[in-house]
Point group: C2
Chain length 207, copies 2
């Protein structure tokens, strides 16, 4: 769509909006015109919230999760189990796991996974600080909760090797058929893994 | 989704993004995290473009189209036909019609259509300024290009009555089956209108 814009200001705003992932030119124009219909304060608050986030965001010094303080509310919560660390790729996974309400330990956000194709090596991730946390001796278990991709497996293996000198249990989240999914439509690899890692029926009904 | 946010800054940004039409909480979070991955300048430019648009936007004094100057580039273009006005609902329709490359006249943006349900009456629209433009005497034809809804028809009729004292031709854009559409799937009302307003085959092949 090679659109002619009646105003340079509009064109700039549309281009900026369209630079966001998943937002095309048509949607961007719709959003810009929506802002024009709202009062000035709306757009000012909108812009301020985004700039505030980007400028003032703090990452927890311990787990690298996004935070409002130097140590995040999870790491500083005494009622959580500080002996279990759940290793995740990004901030988003922390939110997703927190929403399950099934985990009471702490997190460690890697900030990505090892991906030679994208030029991301182990040193680009928060792996050294994970090893330091484990080396302190309080951590009894590290749960690896990364994507079930080749990159995820590579990262799991790299962390596993790095942590092998320490007396810490390393586990991986269970892979299997999703709850509510029909067996018929599960992919073969997942189904195979799901059969291999079958659990006692007595254990499964506790869930 | 009653998500717990690890940071108030993130929560504010997500809420602002999710206040846009068609953007849900999940998309908003994805966009906010995208901004965190880009450098600070990206978000600053983004925010500035939006605030600049909202604060500094000018509407053309003649046609009420969005503009960078008091008189927009269409109204001030001497090579366009100043004797034909195309009446449209919003700025967006000007862009759409301009993109067709089929219209060389000027526009008049109403800023909406008469809609008692939404509390929009004739006085909320730029109808008086349309009458003034016609009263000046240079306009030979007014083309009504509003939506084919009840509100559009009401507005068309209102404008028609307002302009009836003046020596000006009033036309409505053609309604019919879209080019490329299969007759089978056209709705009955459109198809009926399309048959009533049939054109000579000799005329149609000129297009």
């Amino acid at each position: 769509m090679n659109q002619k814009f009646p105003s340079v200001l509009l064109e700039n705003a549309v281009n900026e909006l369209a630079s966001l992932p998943g937002i095309g030119k048509k949607t961007a124009l719709r959003l810009a015109l929506y802002m024009l219909r709202r009062d000035v304060g709306y757009t000012e608050n909108f812009a301020t919230a985004l700039v505030d986030l980007r400028r003032n965001v703090i990452y927890c010094k311990k787990c690298h999760n996004i935070s409002d303080h130097e140590i995040c509310s999870i790491c500083s919560n005494p009622s959580r189990d500080h002996s279990i660390l759940c290793v995740v790729e990004n901030i988003k996974e922390v939110m997703v796991i927190e929403n399950t309400g099934q985990f009471r330990g702490l997190y460690h956000v890697l900030g990505g996974i090892i991906s030679p194709m994208d030029g991301i090596g182990p040193n680009d991730l928060h792996i050294n600080s994970l090893v330091e946390r484990v080396a302190e001796g309080d951590v009894k278990e590290v749960i690896l909760a990364l994507s079930t991709t080749m990159e995820g497996d590579t990262t799991n293996f790299f962390i596993y090797r790095k942590l092998s000198p320490y007396d810490v249990k390393i586990s991986v989240i269970a892979r299997g058929v999703s709850i509510g999914d029909e067996i018929e439509y599960a992919d073969e690899v997942t189904l195979g893994r799901s059969i291999q890692n079958r659990t006692s029926f007595n254990d499964s009904i506790k869930i």
